[in-house]
């Protein structure tokens, strides 16, 4: 019976370095022929591992470079927002700044993107809002990868009854849509910070990674080098983390990178619905939500946080896409 849910489009990769034996042999021949240097360089290129190969491929992709540059910039903005603006995102001047239009001459100044309905600088709020989104995205993804990766690994490696139980637990959590579950969970907290949201999304979101990991481990564990490792007396831990994990982790990385963008969007949606982050946390979702009231007269109040949010999600999805293309040998 095929267990179709676990299917993903990745195949296990042959263990890098398997060809080292004949590589050494031919190298010996090359010495006899006296063209050691040239042959050596050529051969070393052929013996590249999957990761080196993917890295080589990625460095040549403009989309990958662009998305990495964007992500680096966003992370810098999230860590050091004060380096990007002098304006105070919480300073509200209803008398002078109420819904003031964007002023393009005020380059990188407080009035660059205009002011919102409470007379706060939209540019400053866009800059300071990056922290919440990036934190939620990165920490949820980290938590989900560890939690889902471990359960998926255990289910796939041990199989049998362990697998049956874990798979049913995965099914149970998978049946609850992320947004719905998060709404119910978060509604129980009257005070919600970034970490509450991280917790809720991680508790509900780990199943996707677990399924992918389980599927990858199921195929990888049948490989000859795993049998060889076991025959040589490697223990469970060593087999799992030294032999299987490095060869099963590629699809997990791809799914996790793409999911990161999704978590950022989910956080914004929750904040937008009023059940995610709360003031005084500065969040693009909250700002978009409060911009609804003035959307007809001052669309720029909605535009800038929405654009920042979209660009952030876009950057992570583009990076995930590029990494998948580089790691998936079927698309070569």
């Amino acid at each position: 019976m095929p267990d179709i849910h676990d299917e993903d489009s990745y195949e296990p990769h042959p263990k890098p370095g398997v060809s080292h034996l004949d590589y050494a042999g031919e190298q010996g021949m090359a010495v006899e022929q006296g063209t050691l240097v040239e042959r050596d360089v050529e051969k070393r290129e052929e013996a590249r591992s999957l990761w080196a190969d993917a890295w080589r491929d990625l460095r040549r992709r403009p989309i990958f470079l662009l998305s990495v540059a964007l992500i680096v910039l966003l992370v810098l903005v999230a860590i050091f927002p004060w380096a990007f603006t002098d304006a105070n995102p919480r300073k509200a001047d209803l008398v002078h700044d109420y819904l003031k239009r964007p002023d393009w001459t005020d380059f990188f100044g407080a009035g660059w993107f205009g002011y919102d309905a409470q007379g706060r600088s939209i540019y400053a709020r866009v800059v300071y809002g990056a922290r919440a989104s990036i934190t939620v995205g990165i920490f949820v993804t980290a938590a989900v990868t560890v939690l889902g990766g471990l359960t998926g690994m255990i289910a796939g490696y041990f199989g049998g009854g362990v697998d049956a139980v874990i798979s049913r637990i995965i099914d149970i959590f998978f049946g609850i849509p992320l947004l719905l579950g998060a709404l119910v969970l978060l509604n129980a907290f009257t005070v919600r910070t970034v970490w509450t949201v991280v917790l809720a999304l991680a508790v509900l979101g780990w199943t996707q990674i677990a399924r992918v990991m389980r599927g990858a481990v199921l195929t990888v564990k049948q490989a000859d080098y795993v049998a060889a490792g076991r025959a040589l007396g490697a223990g469970t831990g060593r087999l799992m983390f030294r032999h299987i994990l490095p060869n099963a982790v590629a699809p997990v990385i791809v799914v996790a990178t793409i999911a990161l963008g999704g978590y950022i969007a989910t956080e914004a949606t929750l904040s937008f619905l009023g059940i995610g982050l709360q003031e005084p946390t500065i969040s693009w979702g909250i700002d978009i939500s409060s911009a609804q009231k003035v959307i007809r007269t001052a669309p720029y109040v909605l535009f800038f946080p929405a654009a920042a949010l979209s660009v952030t999600v876009l950057a992570f999805i583009m990076m995930g896409d590029a990494v998948r293309d580089a790691l998936d040998p079927k698309l070569r």
């Binding site: 019976m1 489009s9 849509p177 579950g181 509604n187 007809r296 999600v313 079927k330």
Partner: protein, 308 residues
């Protein structure tokens, strides 16, 4: 085949109970007293609170509440909301609206998603391929609620083609815009999935055979290529129907569609336990049935898959 279906249905039973228990625990054990919340700012009379709790079985331990709820559920009784209306009544009003909306969105995403996927997958690296990739990337990265506002501003406020909010949910032309917004994210996924899948299958041996024996292009694409490429797409679509109904929360809110999403959002906010559990239970059932159907569809699409 028969024994496979039986086994799958048996597997669904623990999942059904597990998911409903999980949602039950989330609604009833997390902090925040729904009965006290009913009184709003006013101080609640403890005697009244106790009698309401007794009426709704809330004074019992959670596991008893759950068994009680499940016992009633199997007799078709979803309980009563705190406003006194039977939950099944509320759902009978809301579900047809959301089902109409979701089916409309589903049709939109399947038809256009497959078309775009084919268009770009068959000609990788062409202008149309790049265009589809760019468009889907943009749609994926713009959150649904922003997309909803953009669509509302352009098509309702500026062009005046449709009403900004839905007044009559039986009128499909009014539901069209919310459905497009709701289905757009899935459409992008379907298009990309189809594209990748077609790209992988184009190089398969059976494709070369089909070309070599001189089959016309249309037959190759529809009988051989598409049929084989659809499997991952069907997997996605199966889980997506449930996701569309759950994801309708945002779209229904913005377009004022009086469906499940709207009712559910209000119920979550007011801690209307019975309504939340009832609706989510039905959504879980829809999801489970859809994934069973998907598994059975595999055998139809790919004769190599046989369920013993």
């Amino acid at each position: 085949m028969g024994s496979y279906v039986l086994r799958r249905v048996l597997q669904m039973i623990p999942v059904f109970f597990g998911t409903t228990l999980l949602i039950f625990l989330m609604v009833y054990t997390l902090p925040g007293d729904p009965v006290v919340a009913l009184f709003g700012e006013k101080a609640a009379d403890p005697a009244v609170v106790a009698s309401i709790k007794h009426k709704y079985y809330l004074d019992q331990p959670v596991w008893k509440q759950y068994l009680h709820y499940m016992g009633n559920l199997f007799q078709g009784d979803f309980g009563t909301s705190f406003t006194g209306r039977p939950v099944s009544d509320i759902m009978a009003d809301a579900f047809p609206v959301t089902i109409r909306l979701a089916l409309l969105a589903f049709t939109f995403e399947v038809v256009l998603g497959l078309a775009f996927g084919l268009l770009s997958g068959l000609r990788r690296g062409s202008v149309q391929d790049t265009l589809v990739l760019l468009l889907t990337l943009v749609v994926i990265s713009i959150p649904v609620f922003v997309l909803a506002y953009i669509a509302q501003t352009i098509f309702a406020t500026n062009l005046g083609w449709v009403t900004p909010t839905v007044q009559d949910s039986t009128d499909l032309s009014q539901l069209l815009l919310p459905a497009i917004v709701l289905g757009s994210l899935s459409l992008a996924f379907v298009a990309r999935l189809t594209r990748t899948s077609i790209g992988e299958n184009l190089r398969a041996d059976y494709m070369r055979t089909a070309v070599a024996k001189g089959l016309p292009g249309r037959t190759i694409v529809s009988r051989h290529l598409l049929r084989n490429s659809l499997i991952p797409v069907i997997t996605f679509l199966g889980t997506d129907l449930g996701a569309l109904m759950g994801g309708a929360i945002v779209t229904e809110g913005i377009f004022n569609v009086q469906g499940v999403g709207n009712v559910l959002y209000r119920a979550i906010n007011t801690k209307e336990g019975p309504t939340v559990v009832g609706i989510v239970t039905v959504l879980v059932i829809i999801y489970l049935v859809a994934s069973l159907l998907v598994d059975l569809l595999y055998a139809v699409l790919d004769p190599r898959i046989r369920y013993a």
